[in-house]
């Protein structure tokens, strides 16, 4: 795994964004004159706000920093109407801190660490509340997935990446059962990664590397992995195709990308089927209001085809209260209720009457799961595609 070798620069007039990516460590100004000229020309064309996007700029020395900031300063001094927004990413570690002094010097420059605010549902997923959900879920899905994964091409000795790994328990289970050569597990939640590292250490697992990153702009190199997984996560992005593009990019030609997703409105239970169904239809609406698609499961075939994959394979399975301890299933439902009918409903501004009815459906699902003659299910779609050779 290494970083890009050199820099790429491009300007998009439609959104007035100048993107610099890769590595910029010239010996002198002359070496990056083409970049300076392109940036100067771009600044000249823009009205309103100019975006300088350095989210994927991995390396920058002071020679290049001064060339860039000199140009920006000159233009800003002359044009008080122009605003310049430097868009950095916390993933790189140094870039926000490096550019902030420019914003203190120039009133029309601001620095925005964009990944603090990518999409409406993010804070729910990245902060503590989701961890219990993920933990409860993986335990039960694994009883199915361990049988499904070989059909989708997972073999011992493979180089694997788990993107949006959450608390990393899936990576540990895969490591134990399938012995891949290595696993890189990436997520954008520091809380989850800390948890993941602790779990791996407790289990004495050493060849999983937990990496902080942004799935839509990964700093992993192209064509590195035989098997790339991304579980329950396409459904949390408002633009899943951007993530798929990245999964495709890091996958080796001939390797496979494996995704799992849900269709929550198809959760079911007996008895009390109607109340359960009502609540899960509402879950789908709630997620949609946060621009996430918890109904994505059956759409994964289309997403994979549109992303350029071939030999698509698809499975669905139903996690149920009969998969093991029914209490395990009930724990999943309870963790959903806590977050969906808790902070998410509250922040949407739902009325107490709505929340009470919403909660009832979850409780009825738990009732069905624990009922001696009851049945409760949560359907999941696993899909994979091969990156063409």
């Amino acid at each position: 795994m290494s970083l890009d070798r050199s820099y790429q620069a491009s300007f998009n007039e439609n959104n007035q964004e100048f993107v610099i990516a890769g590595k910029l460590r010239p010996r002198n100004e002359a070496e990056i004159r083409p970049l300076a000229e392109a940036l100067d020309a771009a600044l000249g064309k823009v009205r309103g706000t100019f975006y300088l996007n350095v989210k994927r700029l991995a390396r920058l020395n002071n020679v290049a920093f001064r060339v860039i900031t000199n140009l920006v300063s000159q233009v800003c001094d002359k044009r008080s109407d122009l605003r310049v927004e430097v868009v950095t990413s916390s993933v790189m570690g140094w870039s926000t801190r490096k550019f902030l002094p420019l914003a203190s010097r120039l009133p029309n420059v601001s620095v925005n660490e964009y990944d603090q605010d990518f999409y409406p549902g993010q804070s729910y997923l990245e902060e503590g509340g989701f961890i219990p959900i993920l933990r409860a879920q993986t335990k039960l899905t694994w009883t199915h997935e361990r049988h499904v994964l070989p059909r989708h091409g997972l073999r011992p000795g493979m180089a694997m990446a788990d993107v949006c790994c959450g608390i990393g328990d899936f990576a540990v289970l895969v490591q134990k059962e399938f012995s891949p050569a290595s696993i890189i597990a990436l997520d954008h939640s520091r809380t989850s990664l800390d948890y993941a590292r602790k779990v791996a250490a407790d289990f004495g697992v050493s060849n999983i590397e937990y990496v902080y990153g942004d799935a839509s702009e990964m700093i992993l190199e192209d064509s590195q992995f035989d098997f790339v997984t991304c579980r329950h996560s396409l459904q949390v992005f408002d633009k899943p195709e951007l993530i798929l593009k990245e999964l495709y990019r890091i996958c080796k030609p001939g390797g496979r990308v494996y995704v799992t997703n849900e269709k929550n409105s198809h959760c079911l239970g007996e008895p009390r089927a109607d109340s359960i169904q009502w609540t899960y239809n509402e879950v789908a609406r709630l997620w949609a209001d946060y621009k996430m698609d918890i109904e994505l499961g059956p759409k994964s075939r289309r997403f994979l085809i549109d992303a350029g994959f071939e030999d698509i394979k698809m499975d669905s399975f139903m996690v149920t209260n009969l998969d093991g301890d029914p209490q395990g299933f009930a724990d999943i439902i309870q963790s959903w209720e806590n977050v969906y009918a808790g902070e998410m409903a509250r922040d949407r501004g739902d009325s107490p009457e709505f929340v009470a009815k919403f909660r009832q459906g979850f409780q009825d699902h738990i009732y069905a799961a624990l009922h001696p003659k009851g049945y409760a299910g949560w359907p999941i779609w696993a899909a994979s595609g091969r990156k063409p050779l």
Binding site: S2, L3, L60, N61, S90, G93, L193, E209, Y212
Partner: protein
């Protein structure tokens, strides 16, 4: 720096090092990657360490004595990593680094760094050192050795530094 656990070291003639600008980038990327693998977030750590190390190497590239051995070492002391550069030195180089050492001691070193970042004309030759001291909160020591060599050490705790 005794008591530190050396992790990795690169050594070559100073002429060889200074014959090719890309050495700064290659050595900093390589060493950073090597010493980061057992840090909690290896990619982030390597990114930060590489940035700091590259600035120091670029300074050594431009300011060193004419001949002798050049050595770059990274060692670990607890949470901190120590970058050490050991290089040949002549009178002019010695003056350059002693002046840097004086400036690094000043209480207003952060302002020095920020004004050097945006200074008009050619860049302040100490800029990289100021940056490593301020942005990476490194403890930097510069110690002449025998009048013809110099040891530059920068100790920094980068873990969690990005947050």
């Amino acid at each position: 720096m005794s008591g530190n656990r050396p992790l990795v070291e690169i050594s070559m003639g100073i002429e060889a090092f200074a014959s090719e600008w890309l050495h700064c980038d290659r050595i900093s990327s390589y060493l950073a990657r090597m010493v980061s693998h057992n840090r909690a977030d290896s990619l982030l750590y390597a990114n930060l360490l590489s940035s700091a190390l590259n600035e120091l190497l670029e300074i050594a590239f431009a300011h060193h004595g004419p001949e002798g051995n050049f050595c770059c070492r990274v060692s670990r002391s607890g949470e901190a990593d120590v970058i050490e550069l050991d290089l040949p030195c002549d009178a002019a180089t010695l003056t350059f680094y002693s002046e840097a050492a004086q400036r690094l001691k000043r209480p207003d070193v952060a302002e020095l760094y920020h004004s050097a970042l945006f200074s008009p004309g050619s860049a302040d030759p100490h800029l990289g050192l100021l940056e490593v001291a301020v942005d990476y909160r490194a403890r930097i020591s510069i110690v002449p050795d025998n009048g013809n060599r110099l040891k530059l050490a920068a100790e920094m705790a980068l873990e969690g530094a990005a947050a």
